[in-house]
Every structure is written in C-alpha cells, then in structure tokens.
Amino acid sequence: MTYIPISPNERDAMLKTVGVGSLDDLFDAIPQKHRFPKLDLPPALTEMEAASLLSEMANTNENVREHLISFLGAGAYNHYIPSVVDHMLRRGEFYTAYTPYQPEISQGTLQAIFEYQSLMTNLTGMEVSNASHYDGATATAEAVNLAFAQFRGKRKKVVMSPSVHPQYREVIRTYSQGMGLEEAGDDPTVDLEAGPESLMALVDEKTMLVVVQYPDFFGRIYDYTKLIEDAHAKGSLVCVVANPTALLMLKTPASMGADIVVGEAQPFGIPLWYGGPYLGFFTTKKSYVHKMAGRLIGETIDNRGQRSYVLTLTAREQHIKRERATSNICTNQGLLALGCAVYMSALGKTGLSQVANLCYQKAHYAASELSKIDGYGLCFSDPFFHEFVLCCPKPASEVNEYLLANGILGGYDLGKDYPSLENHILMAFTEMNSKQEIDTLVEVLKEME
C-alpha cells in the first residue's frame, strides 16, 4: 500500500506538463549502470497485514505491564502516564507539524515549548532551559560543549564523578574525541564511598567542568554545595545531572550553586519504549545562554499587539554559525517536551509531589524488607531517593536470572561497570510497584537457594 493520491490519468497529464514521456524519464541524471536497482525487500503489506505483523512482534516481548514485575531503573523508569498525555500527543496539529520556523502558524508548538522551558526552570531552579536535547546522556555531553565554548579551549579538563551513569560518561568520551580533552575521575575502580568532595583532588586551574549526578547512579543523595563552592574557587563550572522525579522532593541543584543542570526527563510522561526516544533537559544560568546549544523559545509581541513566542538567539545555531556553532544539533525532542509539559500540568504540584513521595516510600519499604533477608543488605548508608544498591550473597547475574524465572525483572547488574560491585544490584522503585510486588520480590529472594 502507498499513500500517493495521484490517479494514472492525473499522472499522465502531469508528465505532459513537465514534458517527459514517463516517470522513468525523470531520472536521466542518474548514472545509468546504477539506475533503478532491484531492491531485495519483502513484498508490500496492506495495513491489515502490517498491523498484525507488528502486533505479533510486540507480543514476542515480555513487557513490564503485562508479564513482568519490574525493579529495573538505571536511567529509564516505569512510571504511570496519565491518559491525557497521549491524547494531546495524538493531536495531528502537534505531531505532524515541523519545527516552528514560521511563528505566525506555529504558536501552538512555540507556546507549549516555552511552557516546557518554564516548567524545567521552575523544577531545577535555574534561569534558562533550552527546548530539549536527544536524551540525558547527550544533554550531559552538550554541557561539556558549553564549558569548552565558555573557556574558548583555554581550559580542557573535565572531572567526572565515577557515580555518573556509565553510559553518560561513555557518550561524553565519544563526543569529545576531537576536542583534545583531559578526562579525570572517570574511573570505576576508585573508592565509591569517598564522597563527592573527594573529586576536588582532581580539580585544578585547567578544569572547565565538574560533572556529578543527583541522586547519583547508585541512588545516593548528596548535597553538592561544598563541592560546587570549591570548584568555583578554582574557576570551574559544575554540571549536575539530575533525576526530575527526585527534584520534585529534593533541594534544587540551583540552590547548591550549579551552573548547568541537565538530565533525562523520560520519567515525566514518556514510555520506556525500549530506550527511546526520550527527552534530555538542559538548564543553565542566563549568563551562559549564548554558549548553550539547542533551540530556545522567547516571548515577544506580534504586529497586532498580541503576546507571542519565537525561536530566539538563532544566530548561535548551526544553520547560521555553521562550523563555529557550539553544537550541530538541529532537530530536538519537540513532541516529547510537549508530552512532558502535559504530564507536569496534568499531575500538577499535588500529583507530582505524590509521585515523588510514593517513589520514596516504596523504595524505603523495599530497602528495609530486603535488608532483613539473610545475606542481603544495602551497600551504602547514605540517604537515597528511589534507587539503592542491594548487596547480594551471590553474583548479581544469578540473582537476576532466578528472579526472571519467577516473573520478576530484577535490577541493574553493577558488576559490569564497577569491578568492586560484582555481587551488587541497583534496584529502582516507582509508584507502579505495589506493596504486594515488593513482598513478592522479598519472598522469592528468600526462597532462592
């Protein structure tokens, strides 16, 4: 099936207007020996057949709503998404529009993204938010780009805490390949209980950026005020990678003095979707706005005296600044930023606080129950939000396999990334986990030989 609305008669009339005899005649500029290759692809399906095929493929998976009880987080979280979110995202006016380059007929997208920016600044306490990045990892890499541009290459050292998400650190390493950066702290073999201030040993006059996570990858809540103050004394910027659900409850990174606050907003209304598309948020101080990559919406007025919104400071971006731009980013996650805004508005201050509290309560109940099992315990004693590291008496992979055999998706096996955490699992809890599910987890682990 195709979506081409042209009849054979119309086609012939159009070919005549163009002045060619057939459709194939339009392609004389293509080298003849490579023209019209025979593509070895399955034959076309009708909509009915495609719907059935895709449904079959989807059903091959075991999902966390119908088949598995899930305690897996590590950067992607199973939260409830109010029905209203998808109803708004399914509006063709939103999802089939382009980037709002023509503001007169794009105010829907522009105002919605302006509101998304506002929700993010109010959440993080920062002054400016851009219109989004691809995901939390690339938003963090863009923080490195910002710092690099801010110091104009005069400082080239990035200090990353080992308790920043391993994949985020990996993305920063990929992104910075051409920048000649010195990367410090990105070492999973160090003492993971040393506390955030231990990073200062690596921060010097060449350091452009310190990157920490909040709560960190292990779920621990640290107040980074002292670290940020000390890093500032050395002239470095500090980027905090934050979980937005945790920010609903915890002290804002802005109040700790952070220069850049980024993170993954998937928990805010975006399905797990096997890893994407997600939503990288990026907030910073107004003084760095010209070095920030990505689109930005600003308020203005139209020629009829109406308040309105436009893409602003576009001369920072690649289509004008070309090779001198901070980043090449162009398309961002527009529709998902809208979804995030609808999620935050629909739950509102009350509902969002409830979500955060439920996450906290369930995780702490689980922690206390799991610690009662022989051989199990919490690896760290620091306060945590909705994730914690569970120390197991057996290799994590064995524990997870056993859980899976019992219909439970266990946590993230930390031994893959941290040699000292071989028997450790990162467990995540959200409002989706009932007491019964947690009790089942505890029971199953107790029964494990």
């Binding site: 400071l313 576009t314 001369a315 920072r316 004008i320 600044k321 001198r324």
Partner: protein
Amino acid sequence: MNVPSNLKYTKSDEWFDPSSGAVGISDFAQSQLSDIVFVEILVEEGEEVTVGKAIASVESVKASAEIYAPVAGKVSAVNKGLPDKPEILNSDPFGEGWMIKIEGSAGSEMMDAAAYEQDCAGRAH
C-alpha cells in the same frame, strides 16, 4: 553610510583608529548584520594579537560574525561595558561601540575612507 575619514578599514569591515588604537566594526558591517544582540570580546588586556586573529564574536537576530584584529600588537584596553549593551554597535559603531585598543599601526593593506567606501559599494546589492 557613515565612513569617518580619520580611520583605516579592512576588507572584513573592521576599522582602526591610528591615533587612539581603537578597533571596531564599520557602519556598513552593522547595517549588514542588522540588529545585534550579542557581542563577546575574545581577547584580554595585555594579550598580543596578530593580524587576522579573532578578537570578538558578534551575533545579530539573523547572522553571526567573527571580528578580526586589523593590526598586530598588544591589547591595551577592552571595552568591558560593550557585552551588556550590544545594540551600541548598531547605534554608534565608531564611538561607544569600540571593542578593543591595540598598540600597533595600520599596515599598507588597510584602506582609507574613500577606498573603503568604494569597496562597500561594490559589495552592496
């Protein structure tokens, strides 16, 4: 178009004042860029610059440009207030809109006002 006769000019639209050492962008440049919303001075006082080194970066609503040192020498002053009011570059490019001062002298490749005016006329369309 305003082209003060006491200044020297480059093909990339910088001006240099041989008597004060001041450097900026020309009236023609500001009108081509239109409404300037951002300026960043890329050099510091005391720094040595060579001809053609990027000394400032300017962004308008629809364009961006790098500004290059028209002469070599030591930077003796930087207009620190300029980044707070980039619109000065539109309203007073030869006065309040100066960017830096360089202790140096104009090379023979720099144009006088008449030559520069002719150069601009050739580029305008």
